[in-house]
């Protein structure tokens, strides 16, 4: 059986891409023929899988602008899709669905994914696009049951179902939760709202040896530095820059609490990985995905309440162990094998 994953940009550093490559490798290991198609080449490619067992294609060398270039690219994509055997096409975002769904040959059954939360879709053009294009697909896949329900209600989808993101690896060791370190992971971009995490850290009353480590790089760095200075914690906020995927496990093992203050989150890989390492997390209750990870939940945007919860975990090692162990138990359902089983069940369901 053939599975084709289509991304707008398959090799940039990001959540959609990480999930796609993890799934592709996993399905390929189970003996399926898997293709990953990027509609455009990444500006700075990132290698997710060392020795991929799947085929990898890039359609255009730069973002297509104008009708002629679009038509040429569409012709190349159509030819490529015509060559692969009968199976399933997983379209990973609304823009990919809008562009690709009509180019698929009859032998490929279309499955549309959405990697954001319902709230994010509602606040941008995604909801309208999903309402318009997803009902015609064989399946529309969302990150949690809550999201699937909201989308089927508000985007009038008859075909919505929930399928979580996988954890790429299951760590053997758990964090000992003794180092005085709060961890934040993500691109330093506006949507991640690390300014709130810095404020919450400053207001949490975490005593002196405690530090906030932010892993990731991005354009917000100077603004965040200035913000930390204003909050009076510039000495205790450490900007770590980007860390290679292989070294992330060590980061979680060295942390005692993870904080997530994004404006929007779908099913954040950060929370899954933190949970797998037994690290307790505090997060804004912004989606069904966040709720499913076992993090301590705070009303969206309420920085003061976030600070209180953060302070509580910082102060109480026993509580950290309890929340962390609970999260790790929950994270087992996100192990790659379980998620792959669900994908295979989904394919079987579409076939029927």
């Amino acid at each position: 059986m053939t599975v084709v994953f289509t991304c707008l940009d398959a090799d940039t550093l990001g959540g959609i891409q990480q999930v796609t490559h993890t799934l592709a490798q996993g399905l390929a290991e189970r003996g399926h023929e898997v293709h990953v198609i990027g509609l455009q080449r990444a500006a700075t490619p990132f290698r997710y899988v060392d020795r991929p067992l799947y085929h990898h294609h890039v359609i255009s060398n730069r973002p297509v602008t104008g009708g002629l270039a679009r038509r040429r690219a569409d012709r190349r994509l159509k030819a490529l899709l015509g060559e692969v055997g009968p199976g399933y096409a997983v379209l990973t975002s609304p823009s990919v669905v809008a562009r690709t769904a009509r180019l698929l040959p009859g032998s490929l059954r279309p499955i549309g994914q959405y990697h954001g939360s319902y709230d994010h879709a509602r606040d941008c053009w995604h909801l309208a696009s999903i309402r318009r294009h997803y009902p015609e697909l064989d399946q529309a896949v969302f990150l949690s049951e809550d999201d699937a329900r909201l989308f089927s209600e508000h985007a009038l989808l008859p075909n919505a179902c929930a399928l979580p993101n996988p954890l790429a690896a299951w760590p053997g060791a758990m964090s000992v939760l003794e180092s005085p370190r709060v961890l934040g992971v993500g691109r330093l971009e506006g949507v991640k709202r690390f300014d709130r995490l810095i404020t919450a850290f400053a207001r949490s009353g975490a005593p002196e040896p405690w530090e906030l480590h932010l892993v990731g790089s991005g354009a917000e760095l100077p603004r965040l530095r200035a913000h930390a200075r204003r909050e009076g914690v510039d000495g205790r906020v450490v900007f770590r820059g980007a860390v290679p995927a292989a070294a992330m496990s060590a980061e979680y093992l060295a942390a005692s609490v993870v904080g997530l203050t994004s404006e929007y989150e779908g099913l954040p890989v950060v929370l899954l990985e933190a949970a797998a390492h037994g690290v307790p997390a505090v997060a804004f209750d912004v989606s069904g995905g966040v709720r499913s990870t076992g993090a301590v939940l705070v009303p969206p945007g309420d920085v003061d309440a976030f600070a209180v919860e953060l302070g509580r975990l910082v102060d109480d090692e026993e509580e950290r162990r309890r929340v962390g162990a609970d999260a790790r138990a929950r994270a087992e359902s996100f192990v790659l094998d379980h998620v792959l089983d669900k994908w295979e069940a989904l394919f079987a369901h579409v076939e029927r």
């Binding site: 994010h120 606040d123 506006g190 404006e263 009303p299 945007g301």
Partner: protein
């Protein structure tokens, strides 16, 4: 049981009442006979829960008044025509010519409407074709005595007005005969203009739903709806091939993308005209705001600057001597490319790069507590596209008007702007500082003497634009409690859409399309708002302000985000219920007194730079070079 009875009146009965004007008298009589026994069983409180006109219909069924019932049912749908007659006794209004408890329609407030919203009933008495024209006799009823002694009348067909001369008829009301040629698509209305002040009221013309359509070359005169009203529908004309091809061609060529392409070529080949200035306010919505203040200052000084205003729709607010160009048209694209000076308050089309040599004065349109720029919801999403676009758009600005130090502190970093800043107040607020009025708001909005004006100006909600959901005060309760002393002038945000229901129009004046908010601010006695930037302008006047913030936590935390804690800086009471609002409004001077200190602090924060000469100073600096 009472719920089922209520549902019968509200739903089941309405299914039969709505199309009642279509039925003949025998059918209606039989229908009334079938329903009557059940209605007789119902307790009085069930009738209290439905609308006044439903109640009137029930009363007429119980009294077996078949012809009256058909007329009353005709007011339930369509144009909601007023009755032929009404009686006003002791402050209450009754349907028809008799006073009975079941016929009380006071709650519709039809008798208290201002003249321009008042209701007259126009019925077609005869409609015949006369060659290519139509001859129509109309009976006009004035059940609430809205017409003054001096008036003139007309028949309105689309934009055409045909004068008519209604004659008093024997049985009260007026009869007019008019001959007209139907053309185009319209719903004819009859209008009356009050001679004393020029206010006009119009109403649709209702007709027997069985009226035979009259087909004429110009169009068909027919009726529509259960409670049928007269309408003119054009005859389907075959469009010529040439017109169809041309239309198709224009549609193909005049796309936004092509215009942008043409613009990019134009700015490379065309030289700039140093003295040509393009003005735009509120994305072309009108002639107002700071661009207007700057434009008027230029005119006043007689500077040799040729100004063109961009207009989206609604040209009525512009003075007749202003040169206009439609926003988004080819001429607009050309003017953008040619003008040496751009002045606007929101942003010229974001993806249009600024040509070399053009100078762009960004006046912005408000300051306040709301999050802005990269912190606002439309740029907070997980895409870089819109953020990059806004960054490029901000980079076009050559000068920015900053109303206050607080504005500079918040706005500059959140928009990534580092260019020149004018810190000498807001041109828009000059008129407020000088208390310069040009318009009689009370007269224009028909505010009766002796009533105070409460300006209600809520801001929009980002997740519910154009939904009317920003009006969160219970206007019905407010009307009940305060209609004797106050009138609410409702100014919604430009991206909000709301029209007050008819039973509130005696109390609420819709000023959403009023050309200039400064006039409303100056004419009002107090401001009611939530998070709108109007609070900072209003503080200039020193008049009382009230804040209705029942969704503060939602707005602050998840919907929009704010920079300031409103309850702790607000120069007036922050309320969450309409009951509290009523209490505060009853004791407003005393309440306002207690906030004196915070009011002064609020003015210091936002209005310290407002001295009434902002436009003059900015024009001297920014336009000085162009004029030389």
């Amino acid at each position: 049981m009472p719920h089922r009875q209520y549902r019968f009146l509200r739903q089941d009965l309405r299914v039969y009442l709505n199309p009642l004007p279509l039925r003949d008298a025998v059918w209606v009589k039989e229908f009334a006979a079938i329903v009557r026994p059940y209605l007789e069983e119902l307790p009085a409180e069930v009738f209290e829960r439905v609308g006044p006109l439903d109640r009137v219909c029930c009363r007429l069924i119980l009294d077996d008044r078949v012809e009256d019932l058909r007329i009353a049912a005709g007011s339930l749908t369509g144009p909601h025509a007023p009755p032929r007659a009404a009686v006003q006794v002791g402050g209450r209004t009754y349907w028809g010519t008799t006073v009975a408890p079941g016929l009380d329609i006071t709650a519709l407030r039809l008798a208290e409407l201002p003249f321009s919203a008042s209701r007259l009933r126009h019925e077609v008495a005869a409609l015949v074709s006369d060659g290519e024209r139509v001859r129509m006799t109309v009976r006009t009823y004035d059940p609430f005595g809205a017409l003054p002694s001096e008036w003139s009348a007309f028949l309105q067909l689309g934009k055409v007005r045909i004068p008519i001369s209604p004659e008093p008829s024997g049985e009260g009301g007026y009869v007019s005969t008019v001959t007209f040629t139907p053309r185009g698509r319209c719903e004819p209305r009859i209008g009356f203009t009050r001679t004393s002040d020029g206010h006009t009221t119009t109403d649709r013309i209702i007709a027997d739903p069985h009226t035979e359509p009259i087909e004429l070359p110009g169009g068909t005169v027919t009726t529509e709806g259960y409670a049928a009203y007269l309408c003119v529908r054009p005859a389907p004309a075959a469009r010529s091939l040439w017109r169809r091809v041309r239309r198709r061609l224009i549609k193909r060529v005049s796309t936004p993308a092509n215009k942008l392409r043409a613009y990019k070529v134009l700015i490379r080949v065309l030289p700039r005209r140093r003295n040509l200035a393009l003005f735009e306010s509120d994305v072309g919505k009108g002639y107002n705001g700071s661009p207007r203040a700057i434009y008027e200052e230029i005119r006043r000084r007689g500077l040799p600057i040729e100004a063109v205003w961009s207009v989206a729709k609604g040209r009525a607010s512009f003075p007749s001597d202003v040169r206009l160009v439609r926003r988004g048209s080819w001429r607009y694209v050309y003017t953008l490319a040619r003008a040496g000076i751009w002045v606007d308050s929101h942003g010229f089309p974001l993806d249009y790069p600024k040509p070399k040599g053009t100078r762009y004065l960004q006046t912005w349109h408000g300051q306040g507590i709301k999050s802005i720029g990269f912190d606002a919801p439309d740029l907070r999403g997980d895409f870089d596209g819109p953020r990059a676009q806004w960054r490029a758009a901000v980079a076009r600005w050559d000068a920015l008007v900053s109303p206050s130090a607080e504005f500079s502190r918040v706005f500059l970093p959140s928009n990534g702007y580092a260019g020149k800043v004018y810190r000498c107040g807001t041109p828009r607020c000059d008129a407020l500082v000088q208390a310069r009025r040009t318009d009689d708001v009370r007269e224009r909005l028909e505010v009766p003497p002796g009533r105070q004006i409460l300006l209600y100006a809520p801001t929009y909600r980002d997740r519910a634009k154009n939904s009317g959901k920003s009006i969160r005060v219970d206007l019905e309760l407010l009307a009940e409690e305060l209609a004797q002393d106050w009138v609410v002038v409702l100014r919604t945000h430009p991206v909000e859409r709301y029209s007050p229901p008819e039973h509130l129009r005696h109390f609420v004046r819709d000023a959403s399309s009023y050309p200039e908010i400064n006039e409303l601010i100056l004419a009002s006695d107090a401001l009611l708002t939530d998070y709108s930037s109007v609070m900072c302008d209003y503080a200039v006047t020193g008049k009382p302000m009230i804040f209705f913030i029942d969704d503060w936590d939602d707005y602050r935390l998840s919907e929009r985000g704010v920079y300031h804690d409103l309850p702790s800086i607000a120069p007036g009471p922050c309320l969450t219920t309409t009951e509290d609002l009523v209490t505060v409004l009853r004791a407003l001077p005393a309440v306002h007194e207690t906030y004196a200190e915070r009011y002064a602090a609020f003015r210091d924060l936002w209005c310290a730079d407002e001295h009434g000469d902002a436009a003059a100073r900015i024009v001297t600096d920014f336009f000085g070079q162009a004029a030389r």
